[in-house]
Symmetry: C2
Subunit: 353 residues, 2 copies
């Protein structure tokens, strides 16, 4: 593919060069079968030799589709590293999938609720249907106003990590999530199976959607097992190291200290481990601790942390896949729930009590 000085090679140039009409070039470019072998070859050579590349805007205008998707990331906080850790593999999953399918990705990060109104959000996309579909990534609950707006776009949409949502009767996009509930319940059962009967839970900020699901999974599991009622064994850790640390100090003060603590994320588990170390409570001998997220360092803690690995990459991949299918084949969206995996490491063990 030699380099060419001339700025823009157009379909017309190719047509002339190959001695055919622009219509034929178009057919070749779009892989429409109704083209004779030799003609197609001629055209392909012309394209190659001239270094022709179709103009995206012109295609979009003529076909009424852009082959572009918008990933809308809704976050309330300016930046939250632990959230990024989850969101980036999702982005990567989307990226990898759509690239294979000839789509392009636009992205917009928006601090909805912090200075931006629902009106601002996705202004980009409205600006002239510059996108064929919408992926919405957030760990927060989506309010009515936002839902109405998304629904108003009348564009295929997928929620990643939450939903499904409805707006005024009908669904607003499909949902691709991972199973927060089952994995926490399973974690509880494993601990129970190890002989633990006083199992505590450090929850995260309650307005985060994953947080409330994890909490109810814990509560349900506790109820099912007929163990101690959670009451004092429940603390708020705000998803931070600090929060986990303080929560653990609270638990340690109880006369009947928990023998296991499930944390709604790894950072809180790290805080809890730190507190346990300070309080001379050996982990896992006298206290089992579990986390959630499997962040990079969890493996290197002392002891290495038992935690949950979230299928973030697959979340993105599946979301993109569903969305593209819907766009191209009109397949009605179908909600998906991916499993999350427990990673057993050394921070959990049999109850020695």
């Amino acid at each position: 593919m030699p380099s060419h000085k001339n700025r823009k090679v157009t379909q017309m140039d190719v047509a002339r060069y190959a001695e055919v009409s622009t219509g034929t070039v178009s057919r070749v470019v779009n892989n429409i079968p109704l083209v004779d072998g030799p003609t197609r070859t001629k055209v392909l050579r012309a394209i190659e030799e001239l270094g022709y590349i179709p103009n995206h805007a012109a295609q979009a205008l003529a076909q009424g589709r852009t082959k572009s998707l918008l990933l809308l990331i809704l976050d309330k906080q300016p930046i939250l590293p632990s959230t990024w850790q989850y969101e980036l593999p999702v982005l990567q999953g989307i990226n990898d999938y759509i690239k294979k399918h000839g789509y392009t990705l636009q992205i917009e990060i928006t601090n909805y609720g912090q200075g931006e109104t629902a009106e601002d959000v996705g202004d980009t996309i409205l600006r002239g249907r510059s996108v064929d579909g919408l992926l919405i990534l957030t760990s927060w609950e989506i309010d009515e106003e936002m839902l109405r707006k998304i629904h108003g776009y009348a564009i295929p949409a997928i929620f990643i990590g939450n939903g499904p949502y409805r707006c005024g009767g009908h669904p607003v996009g499909a949902s691709v999530r991972f199973d927060n509930y089952s994995v926490i319940r399973e974690t509880y059962r494993i601990l129970y199976g190890l002989g633990h009967r006083r199992i505590a839970f450090i929850k995260g900020s309650t307005d985060q959607i994953h947080s409330s699901i994890r909490l109810s999974a814990f509560l349900d599991a506790a109820a099912e097992s007929g163990t101690e009622l959670p009451g004092p064994y429940l603390a708020e850790g705000h998803y931070s190291v600090q929060g986990g640390y303080q929560a653990m100090y609270g638990f340690a003060r109880l006369t009947e200290r928990p023998t296991a603590v499930i944390c709604a994320n790894d950072l809180m588990a790290i805080g809890a481990m730190k507190a346990a170390a300070e309080l001379d409570i050996p982990v896992p001998r006298e206290l089992s601790i579990t986390g959630f997220d499997d962040i990079e360092i969890s493996e290197y803690l002392s002891p290495p942390l038992t935690t949950v690995r979230v299928p973030a990459y697959d979340l993105g991949k599946n979301g993109a896949s569903l969305l593209i299918r819907q766009i191209e084949q009109g397949t009605p969206p179908e909600d998906t729930l991916l499993p999350a995996a427990i990673v057993l490491r050394k921070s959990t063990d049999k109850n020695a009590g």
Copy 2:
């Protein structure tokens, strides 16, 4: 803004409704001053009432510009959490800046060198000039082939985090970086000022561009200070917890153990601290340790880690700003070097030797 059933409201509709021509509508939309007050008002009302939104593709086609930028993320590894930590604030900085200026962001993540050739990369952008400018984000050295390709695009480009580069004589895009060199040198000096004379360095993977700069900063600082020649005080830690851990074990074996260790990132510092703990070397009493990146947990380690905070957000913001200025005003690109800040915490102290 009432909702409208009709699919697409076009400029023509607005023109008819406001009883003007499409040209006038266009002028209003584009804020071209040559429109009479009353006329403008009429048009604006019509736009409002009909819910008109200009079609992006049509604008792009007519004006030959897309008001869209491409962020190209080049990474060799599939996913590297520590890299994400740095790249996401950059993305956020870009996002925030361009949104204010009416630009849209496309993103492409590419594993150059792992299955993808330079030919594949940025295929998106080539596909019809669907973008006005290019931001390139990577921590790796960029090879000649890639440079030639980027240069061939003949599109404004900015390198974030590396560069500046040249290709066959002339520069290929401007560069926005942060000052790896000075901050490591300064770290060395601070340690020297604290009385340390045996200062070791754990470097990262040498093909990462930041890594080699940090290394030479260390070497230069050591030479300037006339302290022990680095020789044995230099180890490779591959930017991982594991690597830092092993490197520290190596240092501990020396007859003249270093009294301070500078690590090229926080993960390695964590590994080093872990090793120190196992070896019963108190930090910071007998060993000062510093990191780089200021990742989320560094603040909560025992002791909290002295490290370097990278201006990632500003990197993105400045990159976007430079790029847009270049696109809109043709201002020649100007390389930028942002300062990085040392965050002094408890892992460093006077040399007690």
